[in-house]
Amino acid sequence: MKYEIEINGAKAGIRDGDTILTAARRAGVRIPALCHDSRLKPSGVCRVCVVEVEGAKSLVASCAMPAVAGMRIKTDSARVAEARKTVLELMLSELSPGEAAKYKGTDFGQLLKEYGIRKQAFPQKRRRKNSDKRGPLITQSYESCILCRKCFMTCSTRVMRSVTGLVGKGAATTISTPGGAPLLETECEFCGNCVQVCPTGALIEDWKRKSGPGTRRAKTICTYCGTGCGIVAHVKGGKVIGVEGDVDNPVSHGDLCVKGRFAFDFVHHRDRLRYPMIRRRKGGRLVRATWAEALDFIAAKVRDIKDAHGPDAIAGVSSSRCSNEENYVMSKLMRAAIGTNNIDNCARVCHAPSVTGLAASFGSGAATNSLEEIEGAEVIFVIGSNPAEAHPVIALKIKRAVSRGAKLIVADPRMTELAEMADVHLGLRAGTNVALVNGMLNVVIEENLTDDEFIARRTQNYDAVKKMAMRYPPEAVSRLTGVAAEDIRRAARTYAASRKAMILYGLGITEHVSGTNNVKALANLVMATGSVGRPSAGVNPLRGQNNVQGACDMGALPNVFPGYQPVADEAVRAKFEKKYGLPLPGEVGLKTTEYYDAIENGELKALLIMAMDPAATDPNLNRVRECLKKLDLLVVFEIFPTETAKFADVILPGASFAEKDGTFTNAERRVQLFRKVINPLPGVKPDWKIVKELSRRLGYKMDYKSPEDIWNEIAALAPDFAGITYQRLENEGGLCWPCPDKAHPGTPVMYEVSFPTGLGRFNDIPDISPKETPDREYPLTLITGRRREHYNDGSMTRRSPALMDICPREELEINPADARRSRVKTGDRVRVSSRRGEVVVHAKVTRRSPPGSVFLSFHFDDVLTNDLTSEGVDFLAGTPEYKVSAVRIVKVKR
């Protein structure tokens, strides 16, 4: 507060960049505005925010006028009030015939009421005609549009698309898609961010048009990907009827994607599991049971198996979809109540190599920087990730950075949306990441682009890696990867040109036999250029599920307690034994990918799965199904009858994210509170309560009254979370760990001073070929991934009718050259087979797929893509190689 202005006779401080509006709002003076949005450049078109500034001839639009020291401002004089009233009346008069009451519940309607405006006072020739365009998801009725422009400015400057724009001039001005086309025929991605900013309801969610806004609103966190966007749930009659973005959320600032905003139908879907079910005999039917029956049944079975085969015959799968607290109690159940370290979570099939690879390089296995920093980066290197589909809100941040001049490098075999806009697109052959990144390191070293001071002061083992990198000159790498040597050079130079260079990667890095090595290769590159330990830099895995970071953080891993404290460490174990009050196993348990071997050779008899669907999402499903059948006991906590649930001996109906409290930790290590928005549906229980009750039956009492109790125990045991409390999360809106004490602000940027292990470690790494490469029999490479409209096994998103309107079915993406060879056209049905299985799917001919590769997602239960996927696993992390499988295709005759 350097200077002062005077507002309505009272002094108010101003800050750099303040407009009159922002200064007034900070001082608690309300100025109405319709076209203002703090996230957009002021357009100053609605003129409702006008104020009187002493010395100015006319009134001044406070949203656009910089606050200058000494200004004397009146925000509520008669002149101002009269001007606002007339402007509002003029606006109302332009709209389709109707009284002001029509706009009740909107920002515009609120102002009309405030200024006592009830009818259209001014004559207008061209009152706009009604022309509703309804659905999918969004209704456009521009006859109610006051042309505040926020919708298309949001679209063009924040979503970086131009779905709509202005047409016509003067009173005939209107907003339209090109040629008035329906949204489905435009490049609209249905994120609905335009709808959220509309002040009149000219753009409105279909749900809101039908049922109006909720009678109660509750802030919580999105349940889909690992971005961790804030949402505001609208509740009416005890039901979640809609979702909007939470403008105050520090990650998303109100942005959402199509799933986050619209795919909430699943919460109240009639398919929700509502009562426990038991299969009393193998081969028998699942029958309805009470909670007591189901839990007693499980407890008895578990005890029998433990008595007969020991605790390690039982294994747990924890869930990236559940809260930190639930993951913690699940791993505590396995370790304390059952006595085994056989606990893992679905990070095993996605980002486990991030944990192993980053820990080996930096000493801690998580993202080095926060997502907010993307927008400040000068170079963004996206490798093995398709954020435009899998993390749409992160993609918006990337696109905004690019529009401000950041350079974008994208390494992906496919021509993804970001690859199209990249400065350099490295279209590598699938599975050749190590060679590519080593090639870039080679150029960095050869051309003296290294940060020698950083290397000398902060790292070790550089010389060995330098020697290794010398074996990867761009020309040689070009032969291995299929990327032109010159592009490798350009990418390396571009990347090394700035220290504000941020690497973002996804499952295209980790889901390979060389997953961990891929991660280490990236860590080598950032250490060589010194782009780590500073803002807008580092190596950042984009986590796929909302709480996959948290599931790992909470110790739902076979080798560590919460906060990555090794189970094999005596001192650590002693601490936990003291807290838990009993001896704990010190031997590292099995990884989920090892579970199947253990089941096949008879060592593993029982599996407790909390909210995961391996029978749809693990690779090589035929084998998975055989294994699940072979178990003596399969328990599944689920909200829907999934593929896996079909094999269960006991199904326990869990509560969805909307029905419980807890915390999620997003991809940037930010712990965020999510809140119970509605009561659990009748018959279901939050997973933490299920675990608690099961634990008691197994003879180990858990005394938690609430998730907060559980969190406090975690914070007491894991130093990284020691400073985080529910109270702080509530007040401060999320904290990035490490947060060692209650005064600590959290750590968005890691390793600014040092690495946890002191020095960062360069790792010498071999490049290994994928387990299975195309051959004459199976000539195509199958790459798998996500689509924007759907999520994981699809059990939640496929239950949204509107999302199914937008993306109704799975399609095999195939390059025109390959399509021609197989005589396949878009819309044809093709049989895709691998050595492990086959699926039949519609084809879509597109250049998104490079020649020789085809693409499938795994969202649809009628196309179980994982029947095809490879058995290759990363040697260190055990993560399957989903990204490279050899397949062949045949057109199916009708």
Partner: protein, 381 residues
């Protein structure tokens, strides 16, 4: 205009080069040259702001989108003195160290365009790389394009819409770079100032007036500020046509003001004569119909960006029509008053702020015409 008839030698430009950029700006500042497009802003101050704005790249633009009804002085200058017009822009572009200069000309001015194109080619040859390129941009039209930020938006390929200020174009204009925008008539004065000096100019300030309407000899006339309407009508334009008596004049175009017969001898100064358009109307004219004509014009030319101008300009003709029909004239007048106040006080750019001026003044000065319609023989201008 000074008597010297230099045209092709670009002597003033070369003298400017020898004075240095700072020398030129100082001379223009000392001359007191003011903007001739209507606002009358001191040109030297604008030049200095652009020249000193922190940027690698700057632009200079000549606003030749003469769109104000009743104005044709720039057309006259460009058709008859294209060399001097171009030379003025060269001097300005040099002074502010522009990367590129533009002549933004309305597409209807075909003859002026051809003349300028020739003069530009001569100038470029004569300058031989000592000044930036001059590009002639033919506007697709629209009154709003004369507003400088809308002009620059249009030049950059965007919708021609004005922007909120600040920032002013002198700080952030074309492509976000500091940009000098001057009217044709402003720039055409600079060669004389450079050749004859600031002191000479101070004694020889002239303004061009475009006089049209019910006069015998419509045309462009130069007079020093302080000239009266009577001089312009009776000395320059040959008096009233058809022996009719003078009734009123619209001075400064449709966004200007109304002068009655009783105001004919008041000296017209900067800030009063606007861009110098003088539309003269005789006793056969009905003020209500004139107001309708003006209102229709603005309804057609509002860009639609801000709410008060969009809604106000489109409502105004309908309110006037209600008065003309003799229905609820009191209510309509009250609405016009409210609408005018709001437009003047809240519109985003000058178009909306000034659009109600003439209508309001006609109502004030000829209230009779707005109460009792149809008594005068209707004849539209």
């Amino acid at each position: 205009m000074s008597a010297s008839s230099r045209s092709s030698a670009f002597e003033a430009f070369f003298r400017a080069l020898s004075m240095g950029r700072e020398g030129v700006i100082k001379e223009i500042e000392a001359s007191g040259l003011r903007g001739m497009g209507g606002a009358g802003f001191p040109a030297g101050r604008k030049w200095r702001t652009v020249a000193e704005a922190p940027s690698e790249v700057r632009y200079a633009v000549m606003n030749a989108d003469e769109g104000e009804p009743g104005t044709f002085k720039d057309k006259y200058l460009m058709e008859n003195h294209p060399g001097r017009v171009v030379e003025g822009l060269m001097i300005a572009a040099y002074a502010v160290n522009a990367e590129r200069a533009y002549i933004y000309i309305r597409h209807e001015y075909a003859r002026a365009y051809r003349a300028l194109a020739k003069a530009r080619d001569r100038a470029m040859a004569a300058a031989d790389g000592r000044v930036c390129d001059i590009e002639i941009f033919r506007s697709a039209g629209g009154y709003i394009c004369g507003e400088e930020s809308a002009l620059l938006e249009s030049l950059a390929g965007e919708r021609a819409e004005p922007l909120v200020r600040p920032p002013f174009p002198a700080v952030s204009g074309l492509y976000g770079k500091p940009t000098l925008v001057n009217n044709v008539e402003t720039l055409v004065n600079t060669p004389d100032i450079i050749m004859n000096g600031a002191d000479w100019y101070k004694d020889n300030v002239k303004k061009l007036f475009s006089v049209s309407g019910d006069v015998r000899k419509p045309g462009v006339f130069a007079r020093p500020p302080g000239a009266t309407l009577r001089e312009l009508v009776y000395e320059d334009a040959g008096g009233m046509k058809n022996g009719h008596a003078f009734r009123f004049a619209i001075v400064g175009g449709y966004s200007g003001k109304v002068l009655t017969a009783g105001e004919m001898d008041e000296p017209l100064e900067f800030g009063e004569f606007g861009n110098g358009a003088v539309i003269v109307l005789d006793e056969s004219r009905n003020a209500l119909e004139t107001a309708q004509n003006v209102a229709e014009f603005f309804a057609g030319e509002s860009c639609g960006k801000c709410a008060p101008c969009r809604g106000g300009t489109s409502s105004m003709p309908l309110l006037l029509a209600e008065i003309k029909a003799g229905r609820k004239t009191g209510g309509a007048r009250a609405l016009i008053r409210r609408l005018s106040n709001a437009m003047r006080d809240t519109s985003l750019c000058g178009l909306g702020q000034t659009a109600p001026n003439v209508v309001e003044e006609l109502i004030d000065k000829y209230p009779h015409d707005f109460m009792d319609s149809g008594k005068r023989r209707p004849r539209s201008i």
